[in-house]
C-alpha cells in the first residue's frame, strides 16, 4: 500500500494516498469540489479553473526540516492565488478550504465566464437535465447575466465529426475531455483542438471522420451538450427515460450496459412503435472490474437489431414446401413429432442440439438437458476451441486488468484485440502503460503492437509452437518442479533458480536464421517466467476450431508450467466471438465438428446459430427445427421455426471470458408472440415427453447452481450485489439526489451508476496433472500449396447483429481481402489503385467471392486475410487459395460507354 498523507479539508481530517489529487481526497469525505475539465479517469488538465480552492501548506524550517510552530499549531502559508484542486496532489499537513467566500466567488466568476460564450439553449439540448454545466450553474453560478446577449459568439451548431458523433461548437466549453480521452485512453488521437482563444474548436482529422471504435464515450464524458451521438440526437429528455441494466452481447468482455427506455408513439429507424416501449440509447454502466466507464461503439449502437422490423414474430411451419405462420401449439406439436420420428416419447436418439454463445446460461443449460433427456447430443456452435481448459486455468476470481502494472506480464496470442474485443484492447493498453510487460504474438502486425514490449511474429499455423517456446516447456518445467520445495520457503531463491535457467532452448525451437527474433523470444520467455502475475489472452486471428484448441492447450501448459494459475490476476482469458461462449463450455456443451455431427444425426434443433449461412456445404438433416430472431439461411431450411425473444426483452445471465457471471434484465416488452429461448426449449422438451424447468430464468439458474459445480452457491440475488468500493466518483448514496447530481460531474449520464450487480467470477478447479506435464506442441499441419487463406475478425461485419443498426452499417465498408504486395504483383493486381482493385478470391470447395484487395506490406507473404462474416464463409485456415484480378464493374461500365 502506498504511503498515506494526512491533511485537513474544510476542518475535516482526511487521510489519502500520497500522490492523490485534492479533488479526489475531498470526494472521499463527501466534499464535492465542482469540476469541468477534470475526470477521474483522465490526466488532470487544470484548464477550466472551476476547482479553485485555497491551499495552505505548513511552513518548514529550512534548517531543521521541521514545521514552524505558531501558537501550538503548525504555521501555515497560503498562496497569494487560489490553486486548482484537480492538479494539486495532497501533501502532509496541508489545509484546504473549499467553502470560503473567496472560493465561492471564484466559482461564480468562472461559471459566469463560461456562460458568456454558451448559447443557453438548454430547451433543445440533449444534455439538458443531466448536464454538469446546468447543475454547476444552479449550484455556484450567478443568478443574472451581465454579459450582453447580442454580443455572444455564434458558431456552427451542426457539425458532424463523423457518422456517429455530432458537434455543437457553441456549446463546447473547451475542456478537452474528449481530446484527452481519445489520446490517452483510447490511443486513437483522431480529434484535437484547432485555432486558439475563443475560436478554439474541436476538429477531427481522420478519414472517415472521428474514426475510432470508442467515439461514443466522448459524448458521455462531455460536460455539456457539445458532443451528441447520432443515435440519441433529440431522442428524448433524460428525465423521461428509465434505465435497465443489461450486458453487451457482442463479445466475450461482457461490458455492463444500461438501456434507457421510454414509451413512444412513433418508433425510430422506421420501426413503428405506436405506444410501445423503445430503447432510446445504450450507456455504459460502471463496473471497474470489467469495462470501467467505457464501452465500444458496437456495444453502444448495435443493440438496434433487437428492434429490427425484420424480426420473426410468429412460429413458422413448413407446409407444402413453404414456411407458413402457425400457432405455438401447432408448431410445438409438429416439431416434437418430427424430432421424435419413429422413436418412443422421451427418446430422440439421432437428435443434434446446437446452441451458440448468443444464448444465456439458462438457455444453454436447458438445451443440454433436452439433448441429454432425449438421448441425443448437444453441441456449442463455435469456431473456436479449448474452452474446457478454462475451468482449470481460466482467470482466477479477483482478476482485474486495472490492477495489473509493473511486475505483471500480459501475453496476447493470435488476437487482434482492437477488432475482437475493443474494451480488452483498451484495458490491456492501459495496463502496458502502467508498466505491465506486454507480449504480443501474432501472425501479422496488430494495433496492440505499439504498446508491446515484445512483439513476436509467427507463420500462421505455428501459433501453438510459439506459445510452447515461450514456456520453454521441458527445461523450465523441470526447474520449476525442482524449485518447488524451496519456493514455499524462499521465493526469492526459487526465482533466482528460475532466472538462472535462461531458456536457451526456446531460441532453438524457432528458426535459427532469425537471431533477433529468437533473442526477443528468449527475453519474452524470461519476462513471462519471472513475472509476478501473468494473464494470457488467446483469440481467433487465423485460427479454426482445432487450431484454437491447440493454442489454448499450449497456453494452459505455459501458465501451468510457470505457475501462473489459480491466483488473482493470473490465468487464461479466451477472446470468444460471442458473449456467452464461456457459459456454454462451463455448462458442458462442447464445440463439435458440425460436418461429422450433422452427418451422424437425422434430426437437428439449432438455436441462435446460423451454421448453413457460415458453411452452406454442411449436410442437411431430415428434420430441422430452428429457433432464431431472424429468418437466417439456416431458418430458411428449417421445418419449424420458433421466434425467440431478443436479450433486451428478457432476463438471463452470461458468463464472460473472464468467467464472470453477470445478470441482465428485460428492458422492453417482448415483440409480438416471441418467447424466451429457455421457455421454448422447455416446452419443446415437454412435447417430447421430458420434464424441463421453463417457468423463469431464475428457476433455471437455481437448478444450474445445484447441478453445475462451478456455479455452486450462486443466486440471482448474489449476481445483483454491488459495492461502490472500487468506483471512482460514484455517488456515495445513489438514492440521495444531491449525491447523484454531484456524481453527474463525472458521469453526466443517467445510466452510469451500477446499482444492479457487478457479477461474480467463477472459482477454478484444481489443476489436473495432465496439464502440468509438458506435451510437445503439435507441428503445423498446413500444407504449403497456393496461398493460405486465414480468417480474421473485423469489429463491424455483416453479422445479423450489426446490419440492422443503420448507424453502424455505414461504417462496415466493402468486403476486403488482405494481400501482400508481392503476392498481389504475382497475381497481376495493381497496387495503389484508388479505389482499391477488386479481386476474385478462389478457395477450394468454397463459392467464388469478390472483394477489394487491401494490398499491404503488413500482410505476411503467402497469406490472404479473409474477414469473418463479410461474405465468404471461412471458419479455419485453408491452403490452396488463389486470387485473380477483376475489372471493377463501374469502371467496366464507364469503359463500355465510351465510344470505341
Amino acid at each position: 500500500m502506498s504511503k498515506q498523507v494526512n491533511l485537513t479539508i474544510d476542518n475535516q481530517a482526511v487521510t489519502a494516498a500520497e500522490g492523490a489529487l485534492i479533488v479526489d481526497a475531498a470526494k472521499k469525505v463527501g466534499i464535492n469540489i465542482p469540476v469541468f475539465c477534470y475526470h477521474p479517469k483522465l490526466e488532470p488538465a487544470g484548464m477550466c479553473r472551476m476547482c479553485l480552492v485555497e491551499i495552505g501548506r505548513p511552513v518548514i524550517d529550512r534548517a531543521t526540516g521541521a514545521p514552524v510552530m505558531e501558537g501550538g499549531k503548525p504555521k501555515l502559508q497560503f498562496g497569494p492565488k487560489l490553486e486548482t484542486s484537480c492538479t494539486t496532489p495532497v501533501s502532509e499537513g496541508m489545509v484546504v478550504i473549499t467553502n470560503s467566500e473567496k472560493v465561492k466567488a471564484a466559482r461564480k466568476d468562472v461559471v459566469e465566464f463560461l456562460l458568456t460564450s454558451h448559447p443557453l439553449d438548454c430547451p433543445v439540448c440533449d444534455k439538458g437535465g443531466e448536464c454538469p454545466l446546468q447543475n454547476l450553474t444552479l449550484a455556484h453560478g450567478p443568478a443574472t447575466s451581465r454579459f450582453l446577449f447580442n454580443e455572444k459568439n455564434h458558431n456552427a451548431k451542426h457539425v458532424p465529426l463523423g457518422d456517429l458523433i455530432y458537434l455543437d461548437r457553441e456549446r463546447c466549453i473547451q475542456c478537452g475531455r474528449c481530446v484527452r480521452f481519445q489520446e490517452k485512453i483510447a490511443g486513437d488521437p483522431v480529434i484535437g483542438f484547432y485555432n486558439r482563444g475563443r475560436q478554439m474548436e474541436i476538429v477531427t482529422f481522420s478519414e472517415p471522420g472521428f474514426d475510432s471504435y470508442f467515439s461514443g464515450n466522448t459524448t458521455d464524458i462531455c460536460p455539456v451538450g457539445a458532443l451528441t451521438s447520432a443515435d440519441f440526437r433529440f431522442g428524448a429528455r433524460p428525465w423521461e427515460m428509465k434505465a435497465t441494466a443489461s450486458i453487451c452481447t457482442h463479445c466475450a468482455v461482457g461490458c455492463n450496459l444500461a438501456f434507457n427506455v421510454r414509451r413512444e408513439v412513433g418508433g425510430k429507424n422506421g420501426s413503428p412503435s405506436k405506444g410501445g416501449i423503445v430503447i432510446k440509447r445504450a450507456l455504459p454502466r460502471q463496473n471497474e472490474a470489467v469495462n470501467e466507464l467505457w464501452i465500444c461503439d458496437k456495444g453502444r449502437f448495435a443493440y438496434q437489431y433487437s428492434e429490427s422490423p425484420t424480426r420473426l414474430a410468429t412460429p413458422l411451419v413448413r407446409k407444402d414446401g413453404e414456411l407458413t405462420p402457425a400457432s405455438w401449439d401447432v408448431a410445438l406439436e409438429y416439431a416434437a413429432e418430427g424430432l421424435l420420428g419413429e422413436s418412443k416419447p422421451g427418446q430422440a436418439k439421432d437428435l443434434l442440439v446446437i446452441g451458440s454463445g448468443r444464448l444465456a446460461n439458462e438457455d444453454l443449460f436447458t438445451l443440454r438437458k433436452l439433448a441429454e433427456g432425449a438421448g441425443g447430443q448437444a453441441a456449442l456452435y463455435s469456431q473456436s476451441g479449448g474452452g474446457d481448459l478454462l475451468a482449470q486455468v481460466g482467470a482466477a476470481p479477483g482478476t482485474n486488468l486495472a490492477s495489473l502494472g509493473k511486475g505483471s506480464v500480459i501475453l496476447v496470442v493470435a488476437s487482434d484485440l482492437h477488432e475482437e474485443a475493443p474494451i480488452w484492447f483498451l484495458r490491456v493498453k492501459q495496463a502496458a502503460e502502467r508498466g505491465a510487460t506486454l507480449i504480443v504474438a501474432a501472425g501479422r502486425p496488430t494495433r496492440l503492437d505499439r504498446y508491446a514490449k515484445y512483439v513476436i511474429r509467427y507463420a500462421y499455423g505455428e501459433e501453438a509452437q510459439i506459445v510452447a517456446a515461450l514456456g520453454d516447456s521441458p527445461r523450465r518445467a523441470e526447474l520449476v518442479e525442482a524449485a518447488k520445495p524451496a519456493a514455499a520457503a524462499k521465493p526469492a531463491a526459487a526465482a533466482k533458480l528460475v532466472e538462472a535457467a535462461k531458456p536457451a532452448a526456446a531460441a532453438k525451437t524457432v528458426e535459427a536464421a532469425k537471431p533477433a527474433a529468437a533473442a526477443r523470444l528468449v527475453e519474452a520467455a524470461e519476462a513471462f517466467g519471472k513475472a509476478e502475475n501473468a494473464l494470457v489472452f488467446f483469440g481467433s486471428d487465423g485460427l479454426g476450431q482445432s487450431g484454437a484448441q491447440s493454442v489454448a492447450q499450449a497456453c494452459a501448459q505455459l501458465l501451468a508450467a510457470t505457475r501462473h494459475v489459480g491466483r488473482p490476476n493470473n490465468g487464461l482469458i479466451p477472446v470468444w466471438g460471442r458473449a456467452n461462449e464461456q457459459g456454454g463450455w462451463e455448462l458442458g456443451l462442447k464445440a463439435a465438428n458440425l460436418q461429422t455431427a450433422l452427418q451422424a444425426s437425422t434430426t437437428a434443433y439449432i438455436v441462435a446459430a446460423d451454421p448453413y449461412g457460415d458453411d452452406p456445404s454442411l449436410p442437411a438433416p431430415s428434420f430441422l427445427v430452428v429457433q432464431e430472431l431472424f429468418l437466417t439461411e439456416t431458418a430458411r431450411r428449417a421445418d419449424v421455426v420458433f421466434p425467440a425473444q431478443a436479450f433486451t426483452e428478457r432476463d438471463g445471465s452470461f458468463t464472460s471470458g473472464e468467467r464472470r457471471v453477470q445478470r441482465y434484465y428485460p428492458a422492453t416488452p417482448a415483440l409480438a408472440d416471441c418467447r424466451p429461448d429457455y421457455a421454448i426449449s422447455a416446452e419443446l422438451g415437454q412435447h417430447l415427453g421430458l420434464k424441463l424447468e421453463g417457468r423463469s430464468a431464475a428457476a433455471i439458474f437455481a437448478q444450474i447452481a445445484t447441478e453445475i459445480p462451478a456455479y455452486k452457491g450462486l443466486t440471482y440475488r448474489r449476481l445483483a450485489e454491488t459495492t461502490n468500493a472500487t468506483a471512482i466518483g460514484a455517488a456515495k448514496d445513489p438514492r440521495d439526489a444531491e449525491e447523484r447530481r454531484c456524481a453527474d460531474l463525472y458521469y453526466s449520464g443517467a445510466g452510469y451508476e451500477n446499482t444492479q450487480g457487478l457479477g461474480v467470477q467463477l472459482p477454478l478447479q484444481t489443476l489436473s496433472p495432465a496439464l502440468s506435464k509438458p506435451a510437445a506442441a503439435p507441428a503445423a499441419q498446413l500444407s504449403k500449396t497456393g496461398l493460405l487463406a486465414v480468417p480474421v475478425t473485423q469489429l463491424y461485419d455483416l453479422g445479423q447483429t450489426v446490419l440492422p443498426s443503420a448507424l453502424l452499417r455505414q461504417r462496415i465498408g466493402e468486403a476486403w481481402v488482405g494481400v501482400n504486395p508481392a503476392d498481389a504483383a504475382e497475381a497481376g493486381i495493381e497496387a495503389g489503385a484508388a479505389p482499391a482493385a477488386i479481386v476474385q478470391v478462389v478457395l477450394p470447395g468454397k463459392p467464388e467471392w469478390r472483394a477489394a484487395a487491401r494490398i499491404d506490406e503488413r500482410t505476411p507473404r503467402g497469406v490472404l486475410l479473409i474477414p469473418r462474416s463479410m461474405g465468404l464463409p471461412l471458419n479455419a485456415p485453408l491452403p490452396g487459395a488463389s486470387i485473380r484480378p477483376v475489372v471493377r464493374r463501374d469502371s467496366q461500365e464507364a469503359a463500355s460507354q465510351q465510344p470505341a
Binding site: 484548464m47 479553473r49 472551476m50 492565488k81 466549453i173 486558439r196 482563444g197 475563443r198
Partner: protein, 418 residues
C-alpha cells in the same frame, strides 16, 4: 559612452561575421569552458555574476541551470527568441547584429547543463533571421566550433533553430516547448517545471536571448566585471526598448538601475511635439501603467525599484505615453491584443479577454455608461489570480492600473456620453 556589452555591433563593425567575432575573442570562452572547466564551474561563475533572466521574470540564471535533474538524461537548452511582446525589439537586434555572441551563449549554457542539443525558438515572423542563423550555425560547424567531439573532448553539441507560427503564447516557456514538440501551443501544467521535465519529457533550461548573450562575456571577463555594472541585486546591463511618444525611440543598452528620466528624457530625447509625458508602460503591453510623476521618472529601472511603483520591469520595453493619448483608447488596444492572442486553454483568459474587449471597445468609442466602466473593472478583477499561465494575468495589468490611476480619462468618456 561606455562600450556596449550586448549590442557590440554598434561599436565593432561586421561583428556578425565569424572572423571578426573571433578576432574579438569570440568562442574563446566556450573553448575555455569545454576544455578546462567542469559544467558546474561554469554554472558557478554565472551564479556569481548574479545574472538574472531578461525575459521578464528576472529569475537568477545560474540557479535555473543548477536545477536540472541530474538523474534524467539527455538535457536540452532552449533559447527563447519568440519576442512577441508589443514594444519589445531587443532580441531582434541581438539576433541580427550580434548573432555569434548569442550562439556562443547558447553553447556555453548547453555545456553547463550537459545538453548536447539546443534549440533556438524564433517567432514565425523572424523567418529571415532564422535562415541567417542556420547559415551561421553551419559556419560554426564547419569551423569546428559546434558539432561532435569539440576541442578534442568528448563533448558534442548541435544547435537547431525552430520557427513558431505567430503566437504570443509560445513565448511562455512551456507553450514554447509544446510548440517545438509539434503540438498546439498551450502552456503546460506546472509543476513539474522544465528543469525537471521539459522538452520531450527531459530536463530543459529555457533562457531568453538577451540572457544568453550575456554569458560569453561573463566567462571571458569574469563575474566581478559583470557585477561592476548595475545594482547590487540587479547586476549587469539591460537593453531597454524605448518606444511610444519620444523623439528617439530605439534600443538602449544601459546598466540596470538607470532612471526612467535618463532613458526617456536623456537618451530618448524627450517627448515629441512638445507634449507632456503622462504615463509609462515599463514592460510593454503586459505592464501596468505608471503615472509619470517626477518621483516615477527618478526611479531607477531595476527588478527591485520598479515594483515599488506598482509595475514590473519585465522585458524592459518602455512605452512612453504623452498627454495626447487617451487612456481608454490605449487600454482598448492592449485588451484587443490579449483577446487575439489568448490561447484558449483556461476559461478566465479565453472568455474574460473577450468580454473585456467588448467593454473597452464601447468605452473607448465613448458609447459606455458608468456601469460599463464598473463592469470592466469587475471583469478584470474576476480574471485576476485565476489564469493558467502568467500571460493571462498580464492581460489585466494595464486595465486595472489604468482605471485606477487615470480615473479622470474614464469619467470624461462616460460623462460625455451621458
Amino acid at each position: 559612452m561606455a562600450e556596449h556589452i550586448l549590442l557590440r555591433h554598434r561599436d565593432i563593425p561586421n561583428i556578425d561575421r565569424l572572423e571578426v567575432y573571433r578576432q574579438q575573442g569570440g568562442f574563446e570562452a566556450f573553448q575555455k569552458a569545454v576544455a578546462s572547466l567542469t559544467p558546474d564551474a561554469v554554472t558557478d561563475i554565472v551564479k556569481a555574476s548574479g545574472l538574472r533572466g531578461r525575459g521578464g521574470a528576472g529569475f537568477p540564471t545560474g540557479m535555473k541551470w543548477s536545477f536540472t535533474d541530474r538523474k534524467n538524461w539527455p538535457h536540452y537548452v532552449v533559447c527563447n527568441a519568440d519576442e512577441s511582446e508589443p514594444g519589445t525589439f531587443k532580441d531582434r537586434e541581438i539576433l541580427t547584429g550580434n548573432p555569434f555572441q548569442l550562439l556562443e551563449g547558447v553553447a556555453i549554457a548547453s555545456y553547463a547543463v550537459g545538453a548536447r542539443v539546443a534549440y533556438i525558438y524564433l517567432r514565425g515572423e523572424f523567418w529571415p533571421i532564422a535562415r541567417e542563423l542556420d547559415k551561421r550555425i553551419a559556419e560554426l560547424e564547419a569551423a569546428g566550433l559546434l558539432g561532435d567531439k569539440l576541442f578534442g573532448t568528448e563533448y558534442s553539441l548541435r544547435i537547431y533553430t525552430h520557427l513558431g507560427a505567430g503566437a504570443y503564447i509560445c513565448g511562455e516557456e512551456t507553450a514554447l516547448l509544446e510548440s517545438i514538440e509539434g503540438k498546439l501551443g498551450q502552456p503546460r501544467l506546472r509543476p513539474p517545471f522544465p528543469p525537471a521535465v521539459g522538452l520531450f519529457g527531459k530536463p530543459t533550461v529555457i533562457n531568453n536571448t538577451e540572457t544568453l548573450a550575456n554569458v560569453p562575456l561573463i566567462l571571458q571577463r569574469g563575474a566581478e566585471w559583470f557585477r561592476s555594472f548595475g545594482t547590487e541585486k540587479s547586476p549587469g546591463v539591460k537593453i531597454f526598448s524605448l518606444s511610444g511618444c519620444v523623439n528617439r525611440p530605439g534600443n538602449y543598452e544601459l546598466p540596470l538601475g538607470t532612471t526612467f528620466r535618463e532613458l526617456i528624457m536623456g537618451r530618448g530625447g524627450g517627448i515629441a511635439y512638445g507634449h507632456k509625458i503622462k504615463a509609462i508602460m515599463p514592460a510593454g503591453n503586459s505592464s501596468s501603467l505608471i503615472v509619470a510623476t517626477d518621483e516615477a521618472l527618478n526611479t531607477p529601472m531595476d527588478y527591485e525599484s520598479v515594483p515599488k511603483l506598482g509595475a514590473q520591469l519585465g522585458s524592459a520595453s518602455v512605452i512612453v505615453i504623452d498627454d495626447s493619448v487617451d487612456i481608454p483608447w490605449l487600454i482598448n488596444k492592449t485588451v484587443h491584443f490579449f483577446r487575439h492572442e489568448s490561447c484558449g486553454k483556461c476559461t478566465p483568459c479565453r472568455e474574460g479577454t473577450y468580454w473585456m474587449s467588448q467593454l473597452t471597445e464601447r468605452i473607448a468609442a465613448g458609447h459606455a455608461t458608468a456601469e460599463d466602466v464598473a463592469l470592466l473593472k469587475a471583469v478584470a478583477g474576476q480574471i485576476k489570480g485565476k489564469c493558467f499561465c502568467a500571460l493571462g494575468e498580464f492581460s489585466i495589468e494595464a486595465v486595472l492600473s489604468g482605471m485606477d490611476r487615470f480615473k479622470d480619462d474614464f469619467e470624461a468618456k462616460v460623462s460625455s456620453y451621458e
